[in-house]
């Protein structure tokens, strides 16, 4: 701590998923006093359900900025990550199905290169050579070599361990029922007094803050038994963009990942307005049929488990990072849709920089919960980020 006479602000991070864990890590690094609470455990929820693809995405400039920023942070940490995080620096292959999609490959390649991301176009022959299990005759792909895959729950645990080593408290089995002006109220009747609550519970944020425009977007994944070397890169069809971009209707896309274990993780599906955790067989069937159409040999692999998860989707597909528009003691770190594993690190840096009054390393405005359309119209953006100064006093360690 610095010589500041002010006590460190106490922040309750609600949610011990990857985003909450990354925020706890960054906040404790900046001298804040942090308590992390979660109903179920560390790295459950969407953190456990997702693919764990660390990816630079070019959907929009703002999405690119946050994913690239975050991916760079992850890559810098690569040597420190625990073995259980199962990091594989496999890169991403965006697979084109026809000549039209090959045009997209060229555009994407130019986009990434112009922004300092390594990218490489593969033709049909090169693609077949690096991924022989793909169906023959595909025209080519875009290789993004510095993307990677991880197994997220141990990463969340590792980040929280770092936070706890700096004094953070972790309380599991705690359900927050309400955030009041002086702290968080718990379902068991207890209270935790704090200066600020940071809500990082993904799609469940809606239960605490009903005014946020957040919709759960259900996804399915299938994992196989260990079949090493069947697939070598994270493979995503370019049509994925159509699937991920559409904000209505159910969709599936070919999205296959090699795990460090030799298992093959098969995605992906997107469904709005289905809040049941049960596997929807029809959706899983469509998703697998799509995957097999790209990779016929998948049909013979042994599938050992199917599960579902819920992405927290915002109307403009960008996360909500920063102060709640109307509640000075509430900050948000949610709405990461399918990119929370990647963008957790960037999110945490943005939150810490803003709370410390520093200039953020990338512009934070695109993710501000105050931007248009993120909050129910009845709430207005009344509080400027400068209100933070009121709770400040965090010494810079």
């Amino acid at each position: 701590m610095s010589g500041s006479t002010a006590r460190a602000a106490h922040i309750v991070v609600v949610g011990a998923g990857i985003v909450g864990a990354a925020c706890a890590d960054a906040l404790t690094e900046n001298g804040f006093h942090v308590t992390v609470v979660d109903t179920a455990g560390v790295g459950h929820g969407a953190t456990a359900a997702g693919m764990g693809h660390i990816v630079a995405m070019d959907d929009s400039e703002a999405q690119f900025a946050l994913t690239k920023y975050s991916r760079d942070i992850w890559n810098a940490l690569a040597d420190d990550l625990p073995r259980a995080a199962e990091r594989v620096a496999c890169g991403t292959l965006w697979v084109a199905a026809d000549d039209e999609e090959m045009q997209v490959v060229a555009q994407k390649c130019a986009f990434y290169r112009a922004r300092g991301v390594r990218a490489e176009m593969l033709d049909s022959r090169q693609l077949a050579a690096v991924e022989p299990s793909l169906r023959p005759g595909l025209p080519g792909a875009l290789l993004i070599p510095d993307d990677s895959v991880v197994y997220p729950p141990p990463l969340a645990a590792w980040l929280l361990k770092r936070a706890c080593a700096r004094g953070a408290a972790l309380r599991i089995g705690i359900k927050v029922s309400r955030i009041s002006d002086v702290g968080v109220e718990l379902a068991d009747g207890g209270k935790i007094a704090c200066d600020m609550a940071l809500v990082a519970v993904g799609a469940q944020a809606k239960a605490l803050l009903p005014e946020i425009q957040l919709r759960p977007r259900k996804g399915h994944l299938v994992i196989t038994d260990r079949h090493p070397n069947f697939v070598r890169h994270q493979l995503v069809e370019l049509g994925y963009l159509k699937s991920a971009h559409g904000s209505t209707g159910d969709s599936v896309a070919f999205n296959v990942q090699p795990r460090a274990t030799g298992q093959v993780l098969i995605g992906s599906s997107r469904q709005f307005d289905n809040n049941r955790a049960e596997v929807d067989h029809g959706m899983a069937q469509r998703m697998l049929a799509r995957a097999v159409s790209y990779m016929p040999g998948l049909a013979n692999l042994s599938a050992i488990r199917i599960w579902t998860g819920f992405r927290a989707a915002t109307p403009d597909k960008l996360p909500l990072i920063g102060p709640h528009p109307t509640r000075p003691n509430v900050w948000l770190a949610t709405g990461h849709e399918g990119l929370g594993i990647t963008t957790s690190m960037g999110t945490a840096r943005l939150v810490a920089d803003m709370l410390c009054g520093r200039v953020t390393e990338i512009p934070a405005a695109p993710y501000s919960p105050c931007r248009a359309g993120q909050i129910d119209a009845r709430s207005a953006c009344a509080t400027a980020p400068s209100a933070l100064a009121a709770i400040g006093g965090a010494g810079h360690a």
Binding site: P82, P153, L288, L301
Partner: protein
């Protein structure tokens, strides 16, 4: 993508062990268009695997039911037999997804009878992953499937009446079985044996077993401590009462009682009376309408209980509810036996500490017991599901069927591993097959 065959029945029975056979034959006799589905190529389940074959320890009761079943399946409109067919999921209401050598299959039903039986409980001890250490029922099933055992020396260990049946079978098949190590307390065993007088069939069975086992020591208060390789054979250290004894053997056949295969019932949404035990009403109907359960699923109780519950379920599913009452007395007697069985063979706490922290508990993912209590450094887990996410325990292809019950026993934690499709590993092609629905 992929052809999906479809078969439609009034009543579908899953599992062709005693409960499923009785349910199928009874439903068929009541005029229902029924199908009996099993992942084996033969009826009989684990207990009566090939039991109508003299080479495999012919059983009078088994033969009677196998013949009964064959009569049910004879002629048109009779019982359909879907053998070597594994049910892997329930894609929609009244539909099962199954897999066989011929590919994916949808089985449609109005009424479903679950008779999915039980598996052995395996507990870890040093050496339990050695390839010559097998389940007691596991070794028996391999011998019935063609493994020559003549002249082989087998130690049978663990708990429950199955150990006697296995030892008896193995001896008849030509094995040398010097010792059965039963972990239960000798006083409880004696009390249980005395109580068998109230169920004549069991008494008969016990007497037959005793006769067949002259030359094999049956030791209560006995359990395996360690098994290790020794010149191509196994050296097995046993605790017998207060003493230790080392035996050399070709196989250690070891099972600590039975655990019901409740996965399909859980997937169907059936409520449980207690962990591992599906709740049913007088007619064996579960909390899910038109889904019935019979046999080990409703409580581990052996063949008589399975048969009478199967009969009741078969009658009720076929709409002959009024005829079930005459069987309630038999079922009550079988349930009383179940309670005595459970009491006599309660697992002793010493078994929780056979394996040290370095012993593998999850055989699919090679997770050690030590990893479970203490995570990466100083983390303790809050549930089996939590431990699974962080250690991979229960994440492999058996989906926690082996390690889940063992961890629950050792740690006292609730087995909260989630049941999701496919309930058994399935080819991606099976799950991707398009039913056009």
């Amino acid at each position: 993508m992929g052809e999906l065959r479809r078969e439609i029945f009034d009543i579908v029975i899953i599992g062709a062990g005693p409960a499923g056979m009785a349910a199928a034959a009874t439903a068929c006799a009541a005029g229902a268009h029924a199908a009996l589905v099993d992942d084996n190529g033969y009826a009989g389940g684990q207990i009566w695997r090939r039991a109508n074959n003299a080479r495999h320890g012919k059983s009078v009761l088994a033969t009677r039911w196998i013949n009964h079943l064959q009569r049910s399946a004879a002629g048109s409109g009779g019982l359909a037999r879907l053998q070597q067919t594994r049910v892997v999921g329930m894609p929609r209401a009244n539909v099962l997804l199954a897999e066989s050598e011929r590919g994916a299959l949808e089985i449609h039903y109005d009424k479903l009878i679950l008779a999915t039986g039980a598996r052995e409980l395996f507990l870890p001890f040093p050496g339990w992953t050695h390839p010559r250490v097998m389940g007691a029922g596991g070794l028996q099933s391999l011998v019935k499937s063609g493994l020559p055992i003549v002249g082989r020396r087998v130690i049978v260990a663990g708990s429950g009446p199955l150990l006697l049946a296995v030892a008896n079978y193995l001896r008849h098949a030509g094995a040398i079985v010097p010792l059965i190590a039963e972990q239960a307390h000798s006083a409880e065993i004696l009390r249980f044996a005395a109580g068998l007088a109230r169920t004549p069939a069991k008494l008969l069975q016990a007497a037959l077993l005793r006769g067949g086992l002259i030359g094999t020591r049956y030791c209560a208060d006995a359990w395996p401590l360690r098994a290790q390789e020794s010149g191509g054979r196994l050296s097995v250290t046993l605790q017998i009462g207060k003493r230790r004894r080392v035996e050399t053997a070709d196989y250690l056949a070891c099972g600590f009682g039975l655990v019901a295969n409740v996965e399909l019932a859980a997937l169907a949404g059936c409520k449980f009376a207690r962990p591992g035990c599906v709740a049913v009403d007088d007619c064996q109907e579960t909390s899910v309408k038109h889904v019935f359960a019979a046999g080990e699923l409703t409580g581990i109780g052996g063949v008589e209980k399975a048969i009478v519950e199967g009969q009741i379920a078969g009658l009720a599913a076929a709409g002959r509810t009024t005829q079930t009452a005459r069987l309630f007395g038999n079922r009550d007697a079988a349930l009383a036996f179940t309670a005595r069985l459970e009491k006599a063979f309660t697992l002793r706490p010493e078994l929780k500490t056979l394996a040290g922290p370095d012993e593998i508990i999850c055989r699919c993912e090679d997770v050690t017991l030590g990893q479970l209590t203490i995570g990466d450094g100083d983390q303790t887990f809050h549930s089996l599901h939590d431990a699974k996410l962080h250690t991979r325990c229960g994440m492999g292809p058996c989906q926690g069927r082996i390690c889940g019950p063992a961890v629950a026993f050792i740690t006292g934690a609730e087995n909260d591993l989630r049941i999701r499709p496919p309930i058994l590993p399935a080819r991606v092609a099976t799950l991707a097959a398009d039913g056009g629905a």
